[in-house]
Symmetry: C2
Subunit: 239 residues, 2 copies
Amino acid sequence: MTQPGSKSRAAYEWIRERIETGRFTPGYRLVLDAIAREIGISAVPVREAIRLLEAEGLVTFERNVGAQVAFMHEQEYEYTMQTLALVEGAATALSAPRLTGDHIARARSINDQLADSLKLESFDPRRFTELNLAFHTVLFQKCPNPHIADLVGRGWKRLTVLRDSVFGFVPGRARESVGEHEALLRLIEAGEAPLTIELAARDHRLGTLHAVLAYQAGRRHAAPAVGRNPSTHLTREQP
Amino acid sequence: MTQPGSKSRAAYEWIRERIETGRFTPGYRLVLDAIAREIGISAVPVREAIRLLEAEGLVTFERNVGAQVAFMHEQEYEYTMQTLALVEGAATALSAPRLTGDHIARARSINDQLADSLKLESFDPRRFTELNLAFHTVLFQKCPNPHIADLVGRGWKRLTVLRDSVFGFVPGRARESVGEHEALLRLIEAGEAPLTIELAARDHRLGTLHAVLAYQAGRRHAAPAVGRNPSTHLTREQP
DNA sequence: TGATACGAAATCGTATATGGTCTGGGCCGA
DNA sequence: TCGGCCCAGACCATATACGATTTCGTATCA
């Protein structure tokens, strides 16, 4: 299925693309025959595609009833980011000792691009997110544990569905990020203890999460109930 | 599919049971028609079952070629336990503040049973593992993040395929476990910081992992290259 | 003898067909 | 008017059928 050329794959991408771009909104019913007819294939591969989307949490499924685009509650972003903070932190720490000077240089170069993108009069949050992923990918790519690496990949993939780019909402956080990136690089260069690196990487991601949550709280209540500073606890205080 | 009553589900359980009990050994080819005929259904639901097993990593799959029971290298157990240490530690820490005295009492009661099972002249490692899961389930069950909770469940499920019970190999570790359980309970009761609890729970699991790795190294080299004590780093020294 | 090409068997991927299950609307009785 | 029953339509789950792809044995040729 993951293999290109298959119709299941085509159906998967066809549906996913529509969910990502918002043409299929949460609750939209995915009817096998209808989709199959529209793509010009039979229902069998469509069914398989939907099963895969279900496994990714993009659609919900009920036997004898069918599938619909999953409802994502407010907290979905929080849960995903919290999980990503956890696994990406670990992946980065496990990867760190295996990174060469070359890797660090590459990461630093990407971070420079991130810094540059801040200076443009028209800040492009989408591009910032793209570069941000590239930066972190360099850092965790050497993670020797394939399960953890896989979870990191899933987390990022899921984020693409939840938010195109949160940095559009919290541009200030983008600026902070660049500084934290450099700090993280220094820790790695210095050969700091894995746990130190893990918690730094974790905090970095939680920092973005908290910024977004604070922004949302602000929008809701006019008086922003600012969360605490990023904490390594994966948690934040309840209001 | 996850729903009972479906033939996909039946096929899934039929295959999985054979893999778990070792009747289907790694490398065994899973031929759709053959399995379908043997179960008495058509190939379509069997195919779906195999896709699910693939997602769980129990079988590997190649387009136009088919599926076979996944080869699990030596390190598979290590990777799975390391990942479980990571996510279970977090789940436990996130769950801890939501646990009532009732939960703690229940966990302690299970730990008593674990202690009792050590005293029996015939130690039953399988039962120990069962109770052990029950104990930890009490502790992380209140984890509010469904993604992390899900990952914990997957980790445990995967372990059932990898090893029936490692405590048969390292009975000494069973004894240690009981003590660490009590220590963990005290941390939770005392309302310690989430990170403290997280790392304690993580270390607890890594302890078992390291014990098993040391045992394996001992079997291989006669002179056991004992790993370091459990570390919160998720890592251990290379020999 | 070894390499290559051909062809048949095995097996997968997908289309089409069919029976089963759920859902919603209309009819009937209170 | 309202609630319950029944039926028809929609849709899913699975079976069967068939073309497509891979694999592997065998024959042919250098």
